[in-house]
């Protein structure tokens, strides 16, 4: 039996298009990407619960500062964690006196704008990594990270 050329061509076309057609449509689906830079500094732990004496004094001040100044002003602290978060975390880690001393020392480092590139590892795109664990005066907790290291957010 001689196959009709027209039907044969049609068959091949249908066969080709069904067998080799695109089936993975997920990657082509519409998406709504955000181009906004992730603002991790805004992930504040707004909390007024009192667990120690330090919380009575520090938490209201810090929460007020975050709400009325820092969150409005933007992520201007060059460090991660930011100076205010550093204060809260250092007091949680140690006590009110040592936490205060750690904060004043951090604030001195924050004021010094020179030589940061050679001194701190980087955190994310534009912050220096300066964790609390380096300053608790517990040598076993110090994990030295070389300055040219990039730490992902």
């Amino acid at each position: 039996m001689i196959i009709n050329k027209k039907y044969f061509l049609l068959f091949i076309l249908v066969f080709q298009s069904t067998n080799y057609s695109q089936t993975d449509w997920v990657r082509w689906e519409k998406s709504d990407p955000t181009y906004q830079i992730a603002e991790t500094y805004l992930e504040r732990e707004y909390d007024l619960s009192i667990k120690s004496a330090a919380d009575v004094i520090v938490k209201p001040i810090i929460n007020t500062y975050w709400f009325f100044i820092s969150d409005v002003d933007g992520a201007n602290c060059p460090f991660h964690p930011s100076c205010s978060s550093f204060l809260v975390q250092s007091m949680k880690e140690t006590n009110i006196i040592r936490g205060t001393l750690m904060f004043f020392d951090r604030f001195t480092r924050d004021t010094n704008a020179f030589g940061r590139h050679e001194h701190y590892p980087r955190f994310g795109t534009n912050h220096y990594y300066d964790p609390i664990s380096l300053y608790t005066l517990d040598a076993t907790k110090i994990k030295y990270i070389p300055t040219n290291t990039f730490i992902k957010e």
Binding site: F104, T108, T111, I142
Partner: protein, 282 residues
């Protein structure tokens, strides 16, 4: 015409078709060798394993182990090296490779036990094991042996580097935490300068000096409230700087330890852990 076309198509497909048996043992090995020399160790190991199912070959077993070692899968590398038979020409070398794998996994008691066994064996690589063992002593906290005994297994060119490492281990250039604190108590910022944090030291001096001056002038001009606020802030910077200087000395010492360990590791890596290398890709 149509028949001629079909004939030519059929004929050419028969005559010029691929005749090579890619799955023959020799071709599998050839491909595996190519991948191995191309440093594609993952796929090379797969091909070598395929080859070993057909042919028994100790050099291929050794290459598989080398491949695992190269991709830093030291656990599998150790297993493969230990499976090399006593009759193989790679047997002795596999022993020192096993020591290297143990070192790269963890420097623990089993590593030192095996290093001791190998050092005191009749192996042609016993001195290599001795050198690796002594070098890795630098990375643990135990007391080192006497310098002369420590340097015995090393060659002259290595002795200089190892001697420096030995001296650094025994007398690391640490900064005293107490001295840093006292210096900052005497002159604000001096402790930080002592630990080479010049910028922080100068900033601490300026901040403390500035608030002390503000407090002084406000007391002098009879503004006690402002004066006490500046006194509190100045005192905070002063005390914080003493605290920070101690912390800075600790961080400095942590950096000294880190750089020392990295230096020893780099030295050993450059020396290939005193393990002889085979050039399988000539």
């Amino acid at each position: 015409m149509l028949k001629l076309f079909f004939f030519i198509t059929l004929l050419s497909s028969l005559i010029y078709s691929q005749q090579i048996d890619f799955n023959s043992p020799s071709n599998i090995k050839l491909f595996a060798d190519y991948l191995f020399c191309d440093k594609d160790y993952f796929r090379a190991i797969d091909e070598y394993e395929k080859y070993l199912q057909i042919v028994e070959d100790d050099s291929v077993q050794f290459k598989i182990a080398i491949g695992y070692s190269a991709i830093n899968d030291q656990s599998n590398a150790y297993k493969k090296f230990s499976s090399i038979k006593l009759t193989s020409s790679f047997y002795e070398q596999s022993k020192i490779e096993m020591l290297k794998s143990l070192y790269l996994q963890n420097i623990d008691s089993s590593y030192f036990l095996y290093a001791d066994i190998l050092t005191h064996s009749q192996s042609p690589f016993s001195n290599n094991a001795y050198r690796l063992k002594n070098s890795s002593l630098l990375l643990i906290k135990n007391d080192l042996p006497e310098k002369e005994n420590f340097l015995i297994p090393f060659e002259n060119e290595e002795k200089k580097s190892l001697s420096n490492f030995y001296d650094l281990k025994n007398n690391p250039p640490y900064k005293s935490e107490v001295r840093a604190g006292i210096l900052s108590a005497i002159i604000p910022g001096a402790g930080k300068i002592y630990t080479y944090d010049y910028g922080d030291g100068i900033t601490a001096f300026i901040l403390t000096g500035l608030f002390a001056y503000l407090a002084y002038t406000n007391f002098e001009h009879n503004h006690p409230t402002r004066a006490w606020i500046f006194t509190a802030i100045g005192a905070g910077f002063y005390a914080g700087n003493i605290y920070g200087s101690v912390a800075s000395a600790q961080i400095f010492n942590a950096r000294v330890n880190f750089e020392f360990n990295e230096g020893v590791k780099l030295f050993l890596e450059e020396k290939n852990y005193f393990v002889p290398t085979n050039d399988f890709c000539k």
